[in-house]
C-alpha cells in the first residue's frame, strides 16, 4: 500500500516543479538600484562611471577658463571610447549621459559625432533639391573645440570560482587645435565575484 501512495506524491511534486519553472515574473525597479547578477559589466557600472565623470567634468576649471579666454561656451564632440577590457561593453551609455549633462548644465555645447554628422549632412543635401521652403544653409556647421575620448581598461585576477575584476574608465577632453588635454576623468570599479563549484 505504501508504494502505491508514493507515485501520486511524486507526480504532484513534479507538476508543482514544472509549474514553478514555467512562471516568469517581472518586477519594475528604480534605474539606480544596484542589481548584480552575473558579475559582468552592467548598468550599475555604467551609471557609476557617468556619475563620477559628470561631477568631475563640470566642476573642473576647463569650462570657465575657455569662457574667460574665448568669451563663449566650449564646443565638445564625443568620440568613441576604446574598450580594452575582457568584456563586450557598450560604452555609449555613459558617453551619452555625459553629453546630456554638458547640455543640461548650459555651459557646454555638444555637436554631433561622425556618424550623426553624416545623417544630418544627408538631410541637408536633400533639402537643397529645391523642394524645401526653408532649406538649411550650407557651411554653418559648428566645429568642435574639444573631442571627448576615452579608454576602458580591465584587470582580472581569478582562482577557481573566485574572481576579482578591476575596471578603470578614463575619459579625456582634448583640445582639437593644440592637442592639449584639459581634463582627464577617472573612475575605478572593483568587483569580487564568487561562483560556487557545487549546487544541489
Amino acid at each position: 500500500m505504501k508504494t502505491r501512495l508514493r507515485l501520486p506524491g511524486v507526480l504532484l511534486l513534479a507538476t508543482v516543479m514544472i509549474l514553478a519553472a514555467c512562471g516568469k515574473s517581472v518586477s519594475r525597479r528604480q534605474a539606480t538600484e544596484a542589481i548584480d547578477l552575473s558579475g559582468r559589466w552592467n548598468d550599475v557600472d555604467s551609471q557609476e562611471v557617468s556619475a563620477a565623470m559628470i561631477q568631475d567634468a563640470l566642476t573642473f576649471g576647463w569650462i570657465d577658463q575657455w569662457q574667460r579666454t574665448k568669451g563663449r561656451k566650449p564646443v565638445v564632440m564625443a568620440y568613441g571610447v576604446k574598450n580594452r577590457s575582457t568584456e563586450h561593453i557598450n560604452t555609449q551609455t555613459f558617453m551619452k549621459d555625459l553629453e546630456r549633462a554638458f547640455l543640461r548644465s548650459g555651459r557646454v555645447s555638444v555637436v554631433a559625432d561622425k556618424d550623426e554628422r553624416l545623417q544630418s549632412r544627408e538631410e541637408r543635401a536633400d533639402q537643397q533639391q529645391g523642394l524645401t521652403a526653408n532649406p538649411a544653409r550650407i557651411g554653418k556647421e559648428l566645429g568642435a573645440d574639444f573631442v571627448l575620448t576615452g579608454v576602458l581598461n580591465s584587470i582580472v585576477d581569478q582562482e577557481g570560482g573566485e574572481k576579482v575584476v578591476f575596471y578603470q574608465a578614463n575619459l579625456e577632453l582634448i583640445n582639437v587645435e593644440t592637442n592639449e588635454k584639459v581634463w582627464i576623468g577617472d573612475k575605478k570599479i572593483k568587483k569580487f565575484i564568487e561562483q560556487s563549484k557545487f549546487k544541489l
Binding site: T86, Q158, E159, Q195, K197, F198
Partner: protein
C-alpha cells in the same frame, strides 16, 4: 498462490519504471541523429539551411545540450557569413558554459546512478576556447576589431582558468592554444597603436612558445610561417633584445619592414578542414559468479576521413602562399580524452559496482518472496545494467579536424584571388574562386574557407 503471484506483480511496475527510465536516458542525445543531415547540407554549402535545421530541432538537443545547440548554430551561421547571428549563438553557448562551472550535486548523483549523459554538456576545455576563435573571426568580418580583441583577451582568461582547474602535477595536455594566441597577435597588430603592437608581440611570443612546447611535441604541428614573420616584425618594434631572441627562435624567417606593413595589404586565409573525430562507445561486459552481468562503457574517438588536407592561394594567377596547419583540433580532442580516460574509467567501474550490488540486493529480496519474483528481478536488473550504462558520446561535432592559416602581402588595389584545395601534397582536388578582392594600404583582411570533403 495468489500471494506468490502478487508479489512479483507488485515489484513489476517499479522494475519496469527503472528499465523504461534507463531506456529513455539511453536515447538521451537524440540530436546526434541530426548530424548526417547537417553534414550533407554543409557539403552542399547550404550553411544557412543547416543553421535552421539546428534551430528547428532545439527540442531534440534538450536543455542538457543547450551548449551544443548553440555551438552548432554558431558554426553554421559563421560559415553562412551571418556573423551577427553566429555571435549571438556563441555568446549564449559561452554564457551557459560559465554557468555550468557550478556543478549540480543532484545531477552528479543521477550521473552516478545512471550515466554521464544525464549531466548537462559544458564542452571540453579546447572547445571552450575555440568559441572565442570563431567569435573573434566573426567580429573581424563585421569590421569590429576592438570587439575581436575582447575575444582575444577572453582566450587569455580562459586558458588561465583551465590551468587553474587541474591540481599541480595532474596530467593536462591542453594548457595553451597556440592558434588562439597567433590570431590574437594578428588582431592586436590590427589595432595599430603602440600598446597594441606591444600586446601583439606578447601574443606572438606566447604562440611561438606554445607551438614549440605543446603543439609540436604533442601533435607534431610547428609554428606556421605567418607567426614566425609576425613575431620578428613585432620584436623589431620592441627592441634589439627581443629581435635577437626572435631571430634565434626562427633563424630562417625575416621580419616584415614597417614600411611594407603601411604600404601593402595583408590577406589572411583561415581554412577549416575536414570533420573532427566522433566519439563511439567501447563497452566491457563481464559475467559475475552469480550469473549477473555488469557493463562498463566509455567513449573513444573514431577518426573521420577526408581528402582535402591542404590549400594554396593564388593571387592574380601567381602562387601566393601555401596554408599551414595551425591548430590540430581533432588531435587535441583525441589527446584530451586519452588524458581523462583514467578518470572516466574509475567513475564507470564505481557505477557498475553500485548497480551490481543494488541488483543483487533487490534480487535477494524478491527471491525471499517467491521464485518467480526472483527471476523477474534478475532479468529486469540485468536489462537495467545493460541499458542504463551508456558512454557519454557528446562532443562539438560540427568542428573541423584542423585549422590551416596563411598570409599574403599584396600591393593595395584589386586582386583576383583563387584557392586550390589539395590532398596536402601536389594534387588539386578543387578550386574556389574568391573573385576580385580589394585591399587598402595597411589593411588586413581575413578570408574564411571551409571544406568537408
Amino acid at each position: 498462490m495468489l500471494r506468490m503471484l502478487s508479489s512479483p506483480l507488485r515489484a513489476l511496475p517499479r522494475l519496469l519504471l527503472w528499465v523504461a527510465l534507463a531506456a529513455l536516458l539511453a536515447a538521451c542525445s537524440p540530436h546526434r541523429a541530426l548530424y548526417p543531415r547537417l553534414e550533407q547540407l554543409s557539403r552542399q554549402g547550404k550553411y544557412l539551411e543547416a543553421a535552421q535545421v539546428v534551430e528547428k530541432n532545439k527540442a531534440e538537443y534538450g536543455d542538457r545540450n543547450s551548449v551544443l545547440y548553440n555551438l552548432d548554430r554558431g558554426v553554421f551561421y559563421h560559415y553562412a557569413g551571418r556573423y551577427k547571428e553566429s555571435n549571438e549563438a556563441f555568446a549564449a553557448a559561452e554564457h551557459r558554459m560559465d554557468e555550468l562551472y557550478t556543478e549540480s550535486i543532484s545531477g552528479n548523483v543521477a550521473a552516478f546512478a545512471l550515466n554521464d549523459n544525464t549531466l548537462p554538456y559544458r564542452g571540453e576545455d579546447f572547445e571552450q576556447v575555440i568559441v572565442n576563435i570563431y567569435r573573434a573571426l566573426n567580429y573581424i568580418e563585421l569590421g569590429q576589431t576592438d570587439e575581436a580583441l575582447v575575444e582575444a583577451r577572453k582566450v587569455n582568461l580562459k586558458l588561465e582558468q583551465i590551468n587553474d582547474k587541474y591540481p599541480a602535477g595532474a596530467k593536462n595536455v591542453y594548457k595553451e592554444d597556440a592558434f588562439a594566441r597567433l590570431l590574437a597577435g594578428v588582431l592586436y597588430e590590427m589595432g595599430g597603436t603602440r600598446d597594441d603592437f606591444n600586446d601583439a608581440y606578447i601574443s606572438d611570443r606566447l604562440a611561438a612558445d606554445a607551438y614549440a612546447n605543446d603543439f609540436s611535441k604533442n601533435y607534431g604541428v610547428q609554428a606556421p610561417e605567418a607567426l614566425a614573420r609576425n613575431l620578428l616584425t613585432t620584436a623589431t618594434f620592441m627592441g634589439s633584445d627581443e629581435l635577437q631572441a626572435a631571430q634565434q627562435r626562427f633563424p630562417g624567417a625575416s621580419p616584415i619592414p614597417l614600411q611594407t606593413l603601411r604600404q601593402e595589404g595583408q590577406l589572411y586565409f583561415v581554412h577549416f578542414a575536414g570533420r573532427g573525430p566522433t566519439k563511439v562507445e567501447d563497452a566491457i561486459r563481464a559475467l559475475m559468479p552469480d550469473g549477473n552481468h555488469i557493463k562498463i562503457a566509455f567513449p573513444r574517438y573514431k577518426p573521420s576521413y577526408y581528402v582535402i588536407n591542404g590549400s594554396r592561394v593564388l593571387v592574380d594567377g601567381q602562387p601566393g602562399t601555401t596554408l599551414q596547419t595551425a591548430q590540430p583540433i581533432g588531435a587535441i580532442a583525441v589527446e584530451n580524452l586519452q588524458n581523462r580516460k583514467g578518470r572516466i574509467a574509475v567513475k564507470a567501474i564505481a557505477r557498475a559496482t553500485v548497480k551490481y550490488l543494488a541488483n543483487k540486493a533487490l534480487q535477494e529480496r524478491a527471491r525471499k518472496e517467491s521464485q518467480g519474483a526472483g527471476l523477474l528481478a534478475f532479468v529486469a536488473g540485468n536489462v537495467f545494467a545493460e541499458v542504463s550504462e551508456q558512454a557519454d558520446l557528446r562532443s562539438w561535432q560540427t568542428l573541423p579536424d584542423k585549422v590551416l592559416i596563411g598570409r599574403v602581402l599584396v600591393p593595395p588595389g584589386k586582386h583576383h584571388v583563387q584557392v586550390q584545395f589539395t590532398t596536402g601534397g601536389a594534387s588539386v582536388v578543387a578550386t574556389r574562386d574568391l573573385g576580385e578582392v580589394t585591399v587598402d594600404a595597411g589593411q588586413t583582411r581575413f578570408f574564411i574557407l571551409h571544406t568537408l570533403q
